[in-house]
Symmetry: D2
Subunit: 338 residues, 4 copies
C-alpha cells in the first residue's frame, strides 16, 4: 500500500534525528532560551533577511496560529480568511476560542484578493460589527496553490492601507517557496508580512514551527502569550536543534523541492493518462478528479484523503508527497495504476 495521505506520516529527516541524538545529553537552559534556539533564530534571520525579527519556536500549526493571532489582536478585532483557510475550517474554532471572529471571503483556488479584502473593510464601519484586524493567508494554500510576488504585494499594500495586519501561515512554506510557480524570495515575506511562520512539521521535522515576527509593535511580551497558551516547551532546545539542521544548509528548501518534484510527476502523468485535476497545483498537494471506477482503483493501491464530491458524482481526492516520499514509490504507484 502506497501512502499519499499527508506530509506528516513519518518521523523526521535523518540529519535531524542525528542532531537530536548527538545533542541528547547536553545540558541546556529550558523554554527556548538555549544556544540551539539562539543559533537557529540567527540562521532563520539570515535566510529570510530579517535581521531584527523576533523568532519563537512552537510545537504545531494550530498552536502557532492561535497564539500569534490572539496576541496580535484586541478583543473587537476579527480575522479575515479565505473560506478554505485552515484557521477557518480545520482548527476546531481555535481562533474563536480566543475570542475573535473569523470572517471568510470567497477564495478562488484558496487565495484571497485585495478587492475582497478592501470591500470587507469598507463594509465594517461601526461598533455594531467587529473591526477587521488581521488578514490570514496560507502559502502554499490549502489547495496547493501559491501566491505570486505581485499578488502578495497587492495584498500587503491593501492591508497597510486599511490598517490590517498581514499574517502568513507557512505550514507548507518550504514547498511554496521552492515551487516553480513561486517568484518570491524568502526576504519578500519579511518585507510584506507583519508575521509569518515557517512550517517544520510538514517539511522534515519531528514537529515544530518557527514564528517570525517582523512588525516591531507585535514583539513585546510575546513569550508570555506562548506560555499562557501552553506552547512553551520545557526542552525548547528540541525545536532549536531541528531548525538548526533545516537552515544550517539549504535543507529546508531542498526538502520542499523534492516533494514538489514528485507531486508534479504524479500530476503530469495522471493528466497525461486523462485524469483531470481540480486545479493545477505547483506544490506537493494535487487534486485528481476520479470517476467511481478510478476511485476504486486508487483506493486499492494507496492511502489518500477524500476532498469533495462533485455534483456529477465524481470524487476529488488529495495526493500529498513529502520529503520522505521516494522516487521509487511514485514510479511504482504510477506503474501499478496506469
Amino acid at each position: 500500500m502506497f501512502s499519499f495521505k499527508n506530509d506528516y506520516s513519518e518521523g523526521c529527516h535523518p540529519l535531524i534525528l542525528e542532531a537530536l541524538t548527538r545533542t541528547n545529553l547536553e545540558q541546556t537552559v529550558g523554554y527556548g532560551l538555549d544556544e540551539h534556539c539562539i543559533h537557529a533564530s540567527e540562521l532563520i534571520r539570515n535566510a529570510f533577511s530579517c535581521p531584527d525579527a523576533d523568532i519563537h519556536f512552537l510545537c504545531g500549526g494550530t498552536q502557532t496560529n492561535l497564539t500569534a493571532i490572539a496576541a496580535f489582536l484586541r478583543p473587537h478585532h476579527c480575522v479575515i480568511a479565505a473560506s478554505t483557510g485552515h484557521v477557518n475550517v480545520h482548527e476546531t474554532g481555535a481562533i474563536e476560542a480566543t475570542g475573535h471572529k473569523v470572517i471568510t471571503l470567497p477564495a478562488e483556488q484558496g487565495k484571497l484578493t485585495p478587492e475582497h479584502i478592501q470591500q470587507l473593510a469598507a463594509d465594517h464601519t461601526d461598533e455594531h460589527m467587529v473591526k477587521p484586524g488581521l488578514v490570514y493567508i496560507s502559502q502554499s494554500t490549502e489547495l496547493g496553490t501559491v501566491y505570486t510576488l505581485a499578488e502578495l504585494e497587492a495584498i500587503s499594500h491593501c492591508c497597510r492601507e486599511n490598517g490590517l495586519l498581514l499574517y502568513l501561515d507557512g505550514a507548507r512554506l518550504g514547498c511554496a517557496l521552492s515551487s516553480a510557480d513561486c517568484d518570491m524570495r524568502p526576504a519578500d515575506l519579511s518585507r510584506l508580512c507583519d508575521a509569518f511562520y515557517i512550517g517544520g512539521t510538514k517539511n522534515g521535522a519531528l514537529f515544530g514551527e518557527a514564528l517570525v515576527i517582523v512588525n516591531e509593535a507585535l514583539k513585546p511580551d510575546f513569550r508570555f502569550f506562548v506560555k499562557q497558551r501552553g506552547g512553551m516547551l520545557a526542552k525548547g532546545r528540541l525545536l532549536g536543534i531541528q531548525f538548526e539542521e533545516l537552515f544550517r544548509s539549504d535543507l529546508y528548501f531542498q526538502l520542499g523541492r523534492h516533494a514538489n518534484t514528485l507531486a508534479q510527476q504524479l500530476q503530469e502523468d495522471l493528466e497525461d493518462a486523462g485524469i483531470p485535476m481540480l486545479l493545477r497545483s505547483p506544490t506537493n498537494q494535487i487534486f485528481p478528479i476520479l470517476t467511481p471506477d478510478l476511485y476504486a482503483r486508487f483506493k486499492s493501491l494507496a492511502l489518500f484523503e477524500d476532498w469533495s464530491t462533485l455534483p456529477d458524482g465524481r470524487r476529488v481526492i488529495r495526493l500529498v508527497t513529502s520529503w520522505a516520499t521516494t522516487q521509487q514509490q511514485v514510479d511504482d504507484f504510477l506503474r501499478a495504476l496506469l
Copy 2:
C-alpha cells in the same frame, strides 16, 4: 559546573531515543490515532488499573492542565488550588485565559487539606460568587512533598461530597509514586481522581504528558478540546512511542527512583553537614537554607534555582535531580562542597 537546576535540562532516556530512531520511517496515521499511541494507552491502563480510562497524549504540562480543566468545567466554575500550585503561580494565567477563576487556599508544604476545601465550598453559596468546580492538586507537590494515601482519600471523599472534580497534576508523578514516603499505588489514583496526568517531560521523555480520564462524564468529545487548544500533535505517534518505552517495563518508576535516591543523598549529606532544609522532601526536589557564605559557595559550583529569601536574609534554593543525574555528579558535587 554541576547542574541541579531542573529535571528537563537534557534530552531523553537512551531507550526512548532508540525507539524514536527505530520507528522513524514507519508510516502512521496522524493525530494520535496510530498503533503506538494505542499500545501506549493500553500499557498505561494496565499500569494504573483503569481498564476503561481514556488516555490522551499532550506535549506539556501547562497545555495539559489548561486543556483538561477548560474541558471539564462550565463557565461559572472555579478551580481550587494551593497557593503554591503550578496552575496558580507558574502558568501565566493559562487557566484564567480559558475563563475560569483559580481560588487559592493556604497550603502547608504545598498540600491542600479537606478542611480548607470544605470551608471554601461552604462559603460559595450563591450566584454572586463563582461555583467551586474542580480541585487541583500536584503529586509530588511544587515543594517536593507527597500526599499520602490517607490524605488523597480524604480529599477525594471531600470532593465527592461537595460535587467537585478532583484533578491531579502528575508532572513529577514518577518521583512521587516511587518515593519512600508514598504509600499509594498507581491504581489508587485511578480510583480516587476524576482525571490525572502522568508526566513524561520531567521523567525521561523528550516531551509529553499522558492525560488519564477516569470519570465517564468527562470523556466525550475530548479530542475536540485537544485540537482546539493547539495540543494535537500531527505526528502524535512521537508521544505514543515515548510512553511505550516508559511503560513497556518498569522504566517510568525506575527513573523516578533513581532521581529520588540521588536527591535524598544530597538532602541527607547536606543536613549532616549542618545545612537545614525548608522542609523534608522525599522526592527529587530539595530546598536547602543557605547563609550568604554558603550561598556563594553553592553558586560557584552549581546551577540551581533561587526559591525565596527568609526574613533573616538566608536564601532558600532548590536542587533538583533527574533520570539524567549521575551518582558521580552527586558524589563529586558533595565532595567539592563539603
Copy 3:
C-alpha cells in the same frame, strides 16, 4: 421630520411608565428575586403555555444572546445562524468573544432551512472541525419575515435529529406572533424551541428581554451566567414591572399588531404607488427599493436606515414602525410623499 428609523426611538408605553411610577418607592430584594419578577414570570409561563420553564430577565438582546448561548454550549460547539442573523452581523462578535464560532448558512429572506442545517451537520464529523451545537433563528427575522409553524416544526425536528439545540431570538417576537402570516401560537415556541427570548426593548418597554428556558438540561445555575456576564440588574424589579404590564393583559401582542398594521399600510401604499419592495414583509420592517430621485425625496421627509445598494444603483432602505408610531404620522408621511 418623520422617523421610521427603528422601534426603539422613544421611551416606553404609558402603562409601563405608570407602573414604574406607582412602584417607585416600594422596597424589594434585588437581582430579580422580587415579587414583580416572580409575577411577570408567571404571566409569561401562562401566555406561552410553559408551566415549568425558567424565566430570566435581561437588559438587552446582545446580552441575552451571548449569555444564553455561552451558557448552553461546551467550548467546542459552534452556533449555526443565517448569514443575516443578528448574532452574526450586528453584535460585534459577542458570541465569538465567549469562545464560540458562528457558522453561517445561506438564508433566503432571512430564514434558515432544515436542509442546510442537515448538510452542515453532516459535514462536521471530526475533531478538526467545530461541533455543531445550537441553531440560532430570529422570529421575526432581520428582514421582517416570519417562520411559519410548519417551517419551525421542520427546523425543530432537524435539530432534535442532529442533537442540536434550537434557540430563537425574539427581539421582535411581538410583531412576529401578531402578524398576518404567522400561523403559530406562543405555545408552539415552548414546544419547539429549547430556549427563546421575548423582546421588550423593541415592543414598548424601556428596555428588557425575557429569556424562556424550556429544556430542563439548560436550567441549572443559569443565574450564575447572568451575573458573570454583567447582565444581573441590581434593581431587577424594573424588568419584572415592565413585563408585568406587557403580559398582564394582551398588551404585548396589541403593540405588535399596531406596529404591523402601520407598516403594512406603508408597504401597500408604496407598492400601489409603484415602489417595489425587496421582499414582502408581514411585520413592522419593510424594505422599499428606491431610485435616486425617490431616495432623495424620502431622505427629505423622514429618518430611516440604508439597507443596501443594488447593482443597478437603486437603494434599498428600511422603514420601521413601532408601538409609538401613530396613524397620523403614517398618513401624513404618505400624503407628503405620494
Copy 4:
C-alpha cells in the same frame, strides 16, 4: 420592618422619574449617541474637571468593570485587587471570564497599599507568571472606608512607576466624595486615575454607571467593547437622562451626603449604646458587631446583610442607608431598638 439591606431597594429619585416621564415620547437616536447622553457627558466632564475625558454609560457595576478591564488589558495582564474587592469576590468570576487573572493583596479595612502593590510588581518578573497590568480599587471600599487624597496619590504614583493602570470602581462614589473623611475633590480622580466609574445605581438612579476614561491610550474603539460585551443599551438615552438629573445640580453629592448622615447617626447611636463596630466607616455602610441576643433583636426589627461571624461567635452585620432612607426611619428604628 425597616430595611437597611442595601442602597438599591427602591426605584429612583423623584427628579429622575420626572425627567424620564417628561422625555418619554421624544424621538432620539439609539445606543447612547443622543443629546441627553451628550449633555450628561458634558456635565460630568465639568463636575470632574476632565474636559477631554471620554464618557460611556453602562447599565451596572459588574458590566462596567468587566467591559473596561477587558478592554484596557492585553491577554497576559492580571488585575491587582484587594482580597475584599468586588471584582474578586462578588462578580462570579466576571473578570476571569474575559481571560484575566485577579491577584489579591491583603487589604486593611478594604484598602490597598502602595507597598503591597510594589512588592507584587517586583515578584512578577518573567513570562511564567502573569504580568501586572491594572490596579483595581473601590471608593468607597466594600467596607465603607475611603481612601484619603494622600493614599490615592501614593497608589497612583506607584502605578505610574510600575507601568500599571489605575482603575477606580465608584459604585458608591457619591457617598465617598461627600463623606467627612474624604479630603479629595472630583478633579483629583481625573488627575490620578486612568479610568473610573461614577455609580448611579446605588445613588439615586434606576440603574446606570458612567465610565470616565481619562487616559488617552484607553479611549480608541471603546464603543466596540461596550457592544461586544452586551452593555450597549438600545435606548441609551435612559442613562443620559438619569445622569443629566444627577449632575445638572449638586444632586449626586447631596444624595451621598444624605445617606452618609443617616448612617453616621446609626453608627454613633449604636456605639453610644455600647455596640462595637468592625471598623469606623465614614460612609453609608456600617458594620456593627452583635451578640446573639442583640442579633435576634436586630433581626426582629430590620432587614440587613450578614457579613461574617467572629471566632467568639458574635455576628458582624452590615447596615446600609441610601438616598431613599428617611430621617424618620432611622429615628424610629433606633427608638425601637435601644
